[in-house]
C-alpha cells in the first residue's frame, strides 16, 4: 500500500489540483444549475426546447469541440475572456480556473438534469400551502422547495464532481497540460502513458483516481439516503 502513496511532488500536485478543480467546478455550477433546472422544470417560455438543447450540448459534442469552443470564447482574445480579464481580472486560459470552467461546463448537463427531475417531483400544492401561510415565493423556495429537492441537489453535485474528476478532452484542449497549473489527474495519467517507463506512475494515479471516485460516490449515496429518510415523504 505504501508504494501507492509514494508519489512525486508533481503527482501530488495533480491529485490536489484535480480535487480543487472538481470542487470549484461543482460549487460554481450549483447556482446556475439550480436556476436553469427551475427554468426548465417550471418555466413556460418561447425557446425552452432550444435552451434545453443548449444545456445538453456538452453531453453530445465531442469534448474536444467543447474545449475548442471554450478556447474561442474564453481565451485571451475571445470576447468573453477579454471582457472578464479586463473588467474583473479573471483569466481562464492556461490557468487552473480554466480547467475548472471546462470541467464545470462538461458536468453541467448532468447536474441540471438531476436537479430538474427532483424539482418536477415536488408537490406544488405543498408550496401553495406555504404561500397561504404568508411565505412569498422566495421564502417558499428557500424553506420548502430547496429542502425537498436536497437529494436531487446532492446527486447533481456529485455527478458534476465525478464528471470533473474524469474530464480530459475539453480541459486539455482549452487549458493544455501544464504541470502544477492545469495538469489534472487524467492529464497526468495521459502524460505517463506517453513516456517510456511511465506505467508505474500511470497505475498509481489510476488507483488514486478510482479511490477518490468511489469515496465520492459512496459519500453521496449515504448523504442522499440520510436526507431522504429524514424527509420520509408522505
Amino acid at each position: 500500500m505504501t508504494w501507492l502513496l509514494d508519489l512525486t511532488p508533481d503527482e501530488w500536485n495533480a491529485v490536489r489540483l484535480s480535487i480543487k478543480v472538481a470542487t470549484v467546478a461543482m460549487i460554481a455550477s450549483l447556482p446556475p444549475g439550480i436556476l436553469l433546472a427551475l427554468l426548465l422544470a417550471r418555466g413556460r417560455f418561447w425557446g425552452k426546447t432550444l435552451l434545453n438543447g443548449l444545456v445538453h450540448l456538452p453531453l453530445i459534442l465531442p469534448p474536444v469541440v467543447t474545449g475548442y469552443l471554450l478556447l474561442l470564447a474564453f481565451g485571451r482574445r475571445g470576447p468573453a475572456g477579454a471582457f472578464l480579464a479586463e473588467h474583473f481580472g479573471i483569466v481562464f486560459s492556461f490557468r487552473w480556473t480554466g480547467a475548472a470552467l471546462a470541467c464545470g461546463v462538461m458536468g453541467f448537463p448532468l447536474m441540471v438534469r438531476a436537479i430538474r427531475l427532483s424539482i418536477e417531483a415536488v408537490d406544488r400544492r405543498i408550496e401553495a400551502a406555504a404561500g397561504t401561510l404568508g411565505a412569498n415565493p422566495l421564502w417558499v423556495f428557500a424553506t420548502i422547495t430547496l429542502p425537498l429537492i436536497l437529494p436531487g441537489l446532492i446527486t447533481g453535485a456529485i455527478l458534476s464532481f465525478a464528471k470533473a474528476m474524469g474530464e480530459f478532452g475539453a480541459t486539455i484542449t482549452f487549458v493544455s497540460n501544464i504541470p502544477n497549473e492545469t495538469q489534472t489527474l487524467p492529464s497526468a495519467i495521459y502524460t505517463f502513458t506517453q513516456v517510456p517507463g511511465g506505467d508505474e506512475g500511470a497505475l498509481r494515479l489510476t488507483l488514486i483516481s478510482i479511490v477518490i471516485s468511489m469515496v465520492a460516490l459512496i459519500a453521496s449515496e449515504v448523504l442522499a439516503r440520510r436526507v431522504g429518510r429524514r424527509m420520509d415523504i408522505e
Binding site: G131, T132, L133, G134, A135, D232, I233
Partner: protein, 370 residues
C-alpha cells in the same frame, strides 16, 4: 368580517358565476362535487385569479379585475385548510405549526402556540414527522398550522372529505370549538348535509357554478330542493336545543326546543349544553289527531305552514310548531288521504331512535372525546 364575492371565472366548459356576501361565524359553501365550490375558495385564497370580478374581505379589496388589483396569496393573511392536509414533510409537527408565525407581523400575532395546541389536542404530536400521523391527526395539525399564522379569515376546503366516519367524528368537535372559541370567521366548503347542518351559521348553496341560494342554515336546510340528489334524504329542519335532563333509566336525553321537548338517545353532553339538532324530513310522520297507542315518543303539535312538491311521489310539508319549523316528507297519497292543507292543525311524530350521531352530534362532543 364580511366576505363579499362577485366573480366570473371560466374553466374550459365550466363557468363559475358567483355573487354572495357573508358575515356569518361559519359560512358553508355547499353543493355537489363539480358545483365550483372549491374553485371559489381557491379564488378567495388567491391561489387562482378570476377572469373577471371583485372579492373583498372586511372592506379590503383582494381582487378587482376592473381596477387591476390582485393581492398575492402570501399577503392576504387568509388561512387555508386543504382536503389533503399538505403538511411540510421535511419538518416536524412543531415546525409545521410554527411556519406561519415567521411571516406574521408581531403586532398581529394573536394566535398562541399553547392555546392552539390545547384547542386541537395535538400536544403529544409535536416532535413527530407528518408521515407518522394518522389522517385525522394530520388534519388537526393542518388546522393548527393555519391558525398559528393568525389569519383574518380561515378557509376550509372539505377538510373531512378524505377521512372515514371515525376520523370525521374525531375532528368535528374541534371545528365546533374553533367556531365557538376563536374570533376568526370561517368559510367552510362541504358537500355533506350533516357537516353543514352541524357547523354552519350561514350557507351559500352552489349549483353548476351558480349561487342557487344563500341564507341562515336553518332556512336553507329546509329547502330540500336545493340539496344534491344523494344528500336529499339527509335534509330537514335544524333546531337549536338545550339539554334539559338525562333519562338514565331508559338511556335517553330530553332536549328542550322552541317546538317542545324532544327525546333522543342518550347524549354525552351535560345538562344545559346546547345541541344543534337536525330532524330529517323523511323521519317525520304526520298525524291529524293526537296519536295514542304509539311507540314514537316525540309528538309535536303545530300547524301546516307550507306544502311543497317534492321528488315524486313525495311532498314536503312544513309544520310550524310554536314558531319553529319542522319539515316532513310524506307521500302524495298520504297528503291526499289526510286532506292536509295550509293552516291545518297537525302533530309531527318522530321516533327517538331515528336520531343518530350524525343528526345530534352525540358522542362527537368534546366532553365525550376526552
Amino acid at each position: 368580517m364580511t366576505v363579499s364575492v362577485d366573480i366570473h371565472h371560466q374553466l374550459g366548459e365550466f363557468a363559475l358565476e358567483a355573487r354572495f356576501e357573508s358575515a356569518g361565524r361559519l359560512t358553508a359553501l355547499f353543493g355537489p362535487s363539480g358545483s365550483g365550490k372549491s374553485t371559489l375558495i381557491n379564488l378567495i385564497a388567491g391561489l387562482i385569479c378570476p377572469d373577471k370580478g371583485r372579492i373583498s374581505a372586511d372592506g379590503n379589496v383582494l381582487v378587482d379585475t376592473a381596477a387591476r388589483i390582485f393581492v398575492p396569496m402570501h399577503k392576504r393573511r387568509i388561512g387555508m385548510v386543504f382536503q389533503d392536509a399538505r403538511l411540510f414533510p421535511h419538518m416536524s409537527v412543531a415546525g409545521n405549526l410554527r411556519y406561519g408565525r415567521w411571516f406574521t407581523p408581531a403586532s398581529e400575532r394573536y394566535a398562541k402556540m399553547d392555546a392552539v395546541v390545547d384547542l386541537l389536542g395535538i400536544g403529544h404530536l409535536l416532535d413527530r414527522r407528518p408521515a407518522k400521523l394518522s389522517g385525522g391527526e394530520k388534519q388537526r395539525v393542518a388546522i393548527g398550522r393555519a391558525l398559528l399564522a393568525s389569519p383574518k379569515l380561515l378557509l376550509m376546503d372539505e377538510p373531512l372529505a378524505s377521512l372515514d366516519e371515525a376520523r370525521k367524528a374525531e375532528i368535528l368537535p374541534y371545528i365546533e370549538r374553533l367556531r365557538d372559541e376563536t374570533k376568526i370567521p370561517i368559510v367552510y366548503v362541504s358537500h355533506s348535509v350533516a357537516e353543514v347542518a352541524r357547523l354552519a351559521s350561514d350557507v351559500v348553496v352552489l349549483s353548476q357554478g351558480k349561487v342557487a341560494a344563500s341564507g341562515p342554515t336553518e332556512a336553507i336546510m329546509q329547502r330540500l330542493d336545493l340539496l344534491p340528489a344523494e344528500e336529499r334524504g339527509e335534509g330537514g329542519a335544524v333546531l337549536d336545543t338545550k339539554v334539559l335532563r338525562h333519562d338514565e333509566a331508559f338511556g335517553m336525553t330530553v332536549l328542550g326546543s322552541q317546538a317542545g321537548e324532544i327525546r333522543v338517545p342518550r347524549l354525552a353532553r351535560p345538562v344545559g349544553a346546547t345541541v344543534r339538532l337536525r330532524i330529517r324530513a323523511r323521519d317525520v310522520m304526520i298525524a291529524t289527531e293526537q296519536p295514542t297507542g304509539l311507540s314514537a315518543l316525540n309528538i309535536l303539535a303545530g300547524t301546516i305552514a307550507a306544502v311543497r312538491p317534492g321528488i315524486e311521489p313525495a311532498v314536503e310539508i312544513a309544520i310550524d310548531c310554536n314558531g319553529a319549523i319542522v319539515l316532513a316528507r310524506i307521500t302524495e297519497q298520504s297528503k291526499h288521504t289526510l286532506r292536509l292543507t295550509l293552516g291545518h292543525k297537525v302533530f309531527a311524530v318522530i321516533k327517538t331512535v331515528s336520531f343518530d350521531s350524525a343528526t345530534t352530534g352525540a358522542g362527537l362532543s368534546v366532553e365525550a372525546d376526552g
